[in-house]
């Protein structure tokens, strides 16, 4: 599934993807030359991680300060306990793409 042109991504700026054809809100982050794709909704409470602070490979939830590692999805401290989902990104013909099947909502992400 194509998400956006890689040229639209600026390092250090989080891009939120909310589209009818994308099952869950996503956040895209370019760190160096690598692009990371995570679920945008914090695993603790409904908050948009793309509103959060980015520091290297970590993104901080804007409500309660749990920081998630973009590479693993793991939080560093409570209140979040569960990891957020990370999605494998491929850049094809200048477009950022993810596997649509990995985006399907689960019981956890549908909270």
């Amino acid at each position: 599934m194509q998400l956006c042109p890689i040229a639209d991504l600026t390092p250090g700026v989080v891009t939120r993807i909310v589209r009818p054809d994308v099952p869950v809100p996503l956040a895209l982050v370019k760190v160096g030359e690598r692009v990371f794709c995570i679920d945008d909704t914090c695993s603790h409470e409904t908050a948009s991680l793309s509103d959060g602070w980015l520091d290297g490979h970590e993104i901080e939830c804007p409500l309660h300060e749990s920081r998630f590692d973009l590479r693993t999805g793991r939080p560093d401290c409570p209140p979040a306990r569960r990891p957020i989902r990370t999605h494998v990104v491929q850049v094809v013909d200048g477009m950022v793409c993810v596997d649509a099947t990995s985006l399907a909502p689960t019981a956890e992400t549908a909270r």
Binding site: S48, G52, P62, E65, C77, P78, P79, R81
Partner: protein, 393 residues
């Protein structure tokens, strides 16, 4: 084998245990908790739990994975009643004695009650899961609700009671709720949240009596008024649980006194969370914020392990966080950072005071606090500015 006892199984106690293990402590670890319930998180009690949107398992602070990592002995449903400073032995309410080489005091605080009031059915405080269940039961029937105290607990309970369809009145002793914490401008804005959502706000009066035979019927006020009430929720602050330390040598004054590294006056005994009044910037702070209970035990654990390992304590990090608290009321999300003074000037940065906004407090032109309503991104940016100012002060 070394034994460390953590007294208190709220967030601070669990975090202390977690930090001890993360720091490499592999000795015996005993957690003593007054409540029989497994450790749970308190912020949802006044909101999701009251509204019936989540149950106790949803607010658990531990899961199987964490409990495996902690590898602790859990003594739940019993209280520590004494600490002997010489042997560092704990006496428990069930008669047991427990020797410990190191002790973490994380006994938190309990809800303050109205002095001299009769104990009537329908009158509640809200601090524990049991409290929340009892209050939820009473709120399941139609009735008039009076909330005493316009702080965060009072405001959140009022918001939840209103959402459940009750007629709600808040009684606040000051002229505006949160006046002393947030100053007149913010207090006015937050006060309007109540009235905008149909909650009556009665300010500048004290509660002088509770009327009723078995169950409460009315709340009497210092201006002579009597407010009919079927349910009364008293949210007038919390008292640190330090009485059990009498005679222990652990100095207390509105909380367990600690230094910047969470050490008490007794070697090998540290304190963290709501119960701890820590030295900070030449003064003393006892902060009842969730974030403080999350972060302070990490410092306390490091400090305690350094002591037990005979290391130089000055090499350990100090506890000096930027205070941060949030609240959810009437579907809006408030965030506050710093310790604004009551005379500090509130300055709008984005949005509108009538709706969502982000604002800063200034003292002598310098940023001293941040207040945001439904503006998490802007709050995050401003908090970084405040953190820079805070760290150089």
């Amino acid at each position: 084998m070394t034994t460390i006892a953590v007294v208190g199984t709220g967030l601070a106690g669990v975090r202390a245990a977690e930090a001890l293990r993360a720091d490499g402590y592999d000795g015996r670890l005993v957690l003593v908790g007054e409540e029989a319930a497994q450790p749970y998180d308190r912020p949802p009690l006044s909101k999701q739990v009251l509204l019936g949107k989540c149950e106790s398992q949803d607010i658990a602070l531990t899961d199987d994975d964490l409990r495996a990592v902690l590898d602790a002995e859990w003594l739940l449903g019993t209280r520590a009643t004494a600490l002997d400073p010489a042997s560092r032995a704990l006496t428990l309410a069930d008669g047991r004695n427990l020797h410990a080489d190191g002790v973490v005091i994380a006994t938190g605080a309990r809800a303050r009650t109205l002095p001299g009031m009769p104990r009537l059915r329908g009158v509640h405080t809200l601090r524990t899961l049991d409290d929340a269940h009892r209050l939820r039961e009473d709120l399941s029937r139609p009735g008039r609700v009076v909330v005493v105290g316009g702080g965060f607990i009072g405001a959140e309970v009022a918001s939840s009671a209103r959402a459940l369809g009750h007629e709600v009145t808040i009684v606040e002793y000051e002229q505006k709720p949160l006046l002393r914490q947030l100053g007149p401008d913010a207090a006015g804005i937050l006060g309007r949240l109540h009235t905008d959502h149909g909650v009556a706000l009665v300010t500048g009066v004290a509660v002088t009596g509770l009327v009723g035979e078995d169950g409460v019927r009315a709340v009497e006020l210092s201006d002579g008024r009597s407010l009919p009430a079927d349910v009364v929720v008293v949210g007038v602050g919390a008292v640190p649980n330090t009485e059990w330390l009498t005679g222990s040598g652990v100095a207390c004054d509105n909380g367990v006194l600690t230094d910047e590294r969470c050490r008490t006056t007794v070697l090998g005994v540290v304190a963290a969370g709501d119960v701890a009044a820590y030295r900070c910037r030449g003064g003393r702070l006892r902060i009842e914020h969730w974030t403080n209970a999350r972060d302070m035990p990490v410092i306390a654990a490091g400090s305690l392990l350094a002591t037990l390992r005979g290391q130089d304590p000055t090499g350990q990090p100090v506890h000096d966080p930027l205070p941060y608290v949030w609240s959810d009321q009437y579907g809006v999300h408030l965030q506050i950072a710093g310790r604004p003074g009551v005379d500090d000037v509130l300055e709008l940065v984005s949005g509108s005071f009538d709706d969502s906004f982000a604002a800063v407090y200034r003292r002598d032109g310098e940023i001293s606090g941040v207040l945001a309503v439904d503006s998490p991104r802007e709050f995050g940016r401003l908090r970084r500015d405040l953190r820079s100012a805070w760290s150089i002060r």
